[in-house]
């Protein structure tokens, strides 16, 4: 048996922005193989990351992403340390760099971090030998969410190129949307951002010229293959940008009446957690066209693929 090898040319996953279409395809292809591990009727664990130490550093609340990473790490047989920011020395005034230096002394191989400051991961990457995985940094990027969204879409439609995807809601505060814009536009999907003018910064067209921006959800719906709803993030100040939740729902909620206007085979995505009755109704969130729980399921093999590809020596070390 000879192993055909792929050298993932990045040491870290700081965002989707640095990834080429080939990198994205490799990650999604590898996730398919890990999905088989997750679907086994018997032992859902492989020894691929045995003897590797993974540190989960979550400085922001997370249930879904943190659990998903932890399951992925366990399924790869990694050793895991969960660093809880609430009970850490950060409460005693320790800086992120000091925390990093102390962690470095434990010789971790991979660090999965969520932090409220955009760029915190790049800072950590400069001070540590470990590979850094961005599990969300402020409103900047959430690359594994975009990868699992793409995986879910590719699995359903068999492709990403040419798909018409509407991303709807609180665009301004969303790190999910930025990662998805890098990924979907790079893979040839046609993206339309939809939301009230206050929540869809026009300058996004400068970074992603191929996208469309609309404030008329009803007009956009009939053309879409997929509708990705975003959570209204009131903890990040969304309330200051809209007149009220009732009006927001009236124009931008995905509900059965709007689903009537969509293609029969349209699919609905949402990164969660859902504000039921605000951006999406329960009838749609639990309805036959939703892929929301598929997204959660697919998060594990996608994160397994990320950890697997980052756990080997990378391009610059290839002789």
């Amino acid at each position: 048996m000879t192993a055909e090898r792929y050298v993932f040319p990045h040491k870290h996953l700081l965002g989707i922005e640095p990834l080429s279409p080939q990198d994205i395809t490799a990650l999604l292809d590898q996730a398919r193989a890990f999905e088989e591990v997750c679907e086994r009727p018997s032992i859902k664990i492989v020894p691929a990351l045995r003897k590797k130490l993974v540190v989960n550093l979550f400085f922001e609340n997370s249930t879904r992403t943190r659990n998903s990473f932890e399951i992925a790490e366990k399924r790869l047989s990694a050793e895991i340390i969960n660093f809880d920011a609430d009970t850490s020395s950060l409460n005693k005034g320790e800086t992120l760099i000091d925390t990093a230096m102390n962690l470095e002394a434990m010789h971790p191989d991979l660090i999965v971090m969520r932090h409220s400051a955009p760029g915190a991961h790049a800072l950590l990457a400069r001070h540590m030998k470990a590979s850094i995985v961005n599990a969300g940094d402020g409103a900047h990027e959430h690359p594994t969410q975009a990868l699992l969204d793409a995986y879910t879409l590719r699995k359903h439609f068999g492709k990403l190129e040419g798909l018409r995807v509407a991303i709807v809601g609180d665009i301004r505060n969303s790190r999910v949307v930025r990662s998805n814009l890098w990924l979907l536009t790079r893979m040839g999907a046609k993206v339309t951002l939809v939301g009230p003018p206050t929540l869809v910064p026009q300058e996004m067209k400068a970074t992603w010229p191929s996208i469309d921006i609309s404030h008329d959800f009803d007009a956009v719906i009939p053309k879409q293959d997929a509708i990705m709803m975003l959570r209204a993030q009131f903890e990040r100040g969304t309330g200051a940008y809209i007149p009220g939740q009732g009006e927001y729902s009236r124009f931008f909620q995905l509900n059965p009446a709007r689903m009537q206007r969509a293609k029969k085979d349209v699919v609905v995505l949402h990164p969660g957690p859902i504000n039921r009755g605000l951006e999406i109704t329960s009838e749609v969130a639990d309805g036959p066209r939703n892929l929301i729980l598929d997204q959660v399921t697919n998060g594990v093999p996608v994160r397994m693929a990320v950890l697997y590809l980052l756990s080997h020596p990378h391009g610059e070390q290839v002789p």
């Binding site: 048996m1 192993a3 055909e4 090898r5 792929y6 050298v7 993932f8 292809d29 590898q30 398919r32 193989a33 890990f34 999905e35 088989e36 591990v37 086994r40 009727p41 018997s42 032992i43 664990i45 492989v46 020894p47 691929a48 990351l49 045995r50 003897k51 590797k52 697997y308 590809l309 756990s311 080997h312 020596p313 070390q317 290839v318 002789p319």
Partner: protein, 180 residues
């Protein structure tokens, strides 16, 4: 069993004959009540397993299930390799419980691939017994593993490899010995 002769120990006709002989030998090793499945070790073990299933069906009329096993994640050198070996899905669409599993591969060399395959296999279930069938069994074992059935046994010195080509993957059938 043909002896290795020069750089080309098996041409297409010899490979065909070897597989037919392997199918006959395999049937002779099985008890009448044994439920057998073939698991091809990716990548070249899979087409070999599929060919054997056709031969077994022609001989007995029985449909022998075929699955595939990717052992990449079970390699004992995985974490030391530069670059990530590409992982392909394992496909075992049947139960292994109470079955006789015949692992099929193209070449048996160090034994490490088979060790990994056994680990992978046992994560999928507990078969009644496991047999190993290879097209070519070459010298150079590093682990105490042996083939139950081999189409060819070859003594070749270190620094050489047995290269198997199959129509399904390479467009031709051949077994050659090459310097590495």
């Amino acid at each position: 069993m043909p002896e290795a002769q020069g750089p080309c120990p098996m041409d297409p006709g010899q490979m065909d004959a070897a597989l037919k002989r392997l199918a006959v030998d395999l049937m002779a090793r099985l008890q009448p009540e044994e439920e057998v499945v073939l698991l091809g070790i990716r990548s070249r073990g899979l087409p070999l397993a599929e060919r054997l299933a056709i031969l077994l069906r022609a001989a007995t009329g029985a449909q022998v299930p075929v699955g595939s096993l990717d052992i990449t994640l079970y390699r004992d050198d995985l974490t030391e390799m530069v670059g990530s070996p590409i992982v392909r899905p394992t496909e075992i669409p049947f139960t292994l419980k109470e079955r006789t599993v015949v692992l099929v591969d193209d070449v048996l060399y160090t034994g490490r691939t088979v060790r990994a395959a056994l680990d992978a296999l046992l994560d999928h279930g507990r078969p009644h017994r496991v047999m190993l069938l290879v097209l070519a069994d070459r010298s150079g074992r590093e682990l105490p593993i042996q083939a139950d059935l081999a189409g060819l046994r070859v003594e070749i010195p270190p620094g050489h490899r047995v290269a198997v080509k199959l129509k399904e993957i390479d467009g031709e059938d051949s077994v050659t010995v090459e310097a590495c």
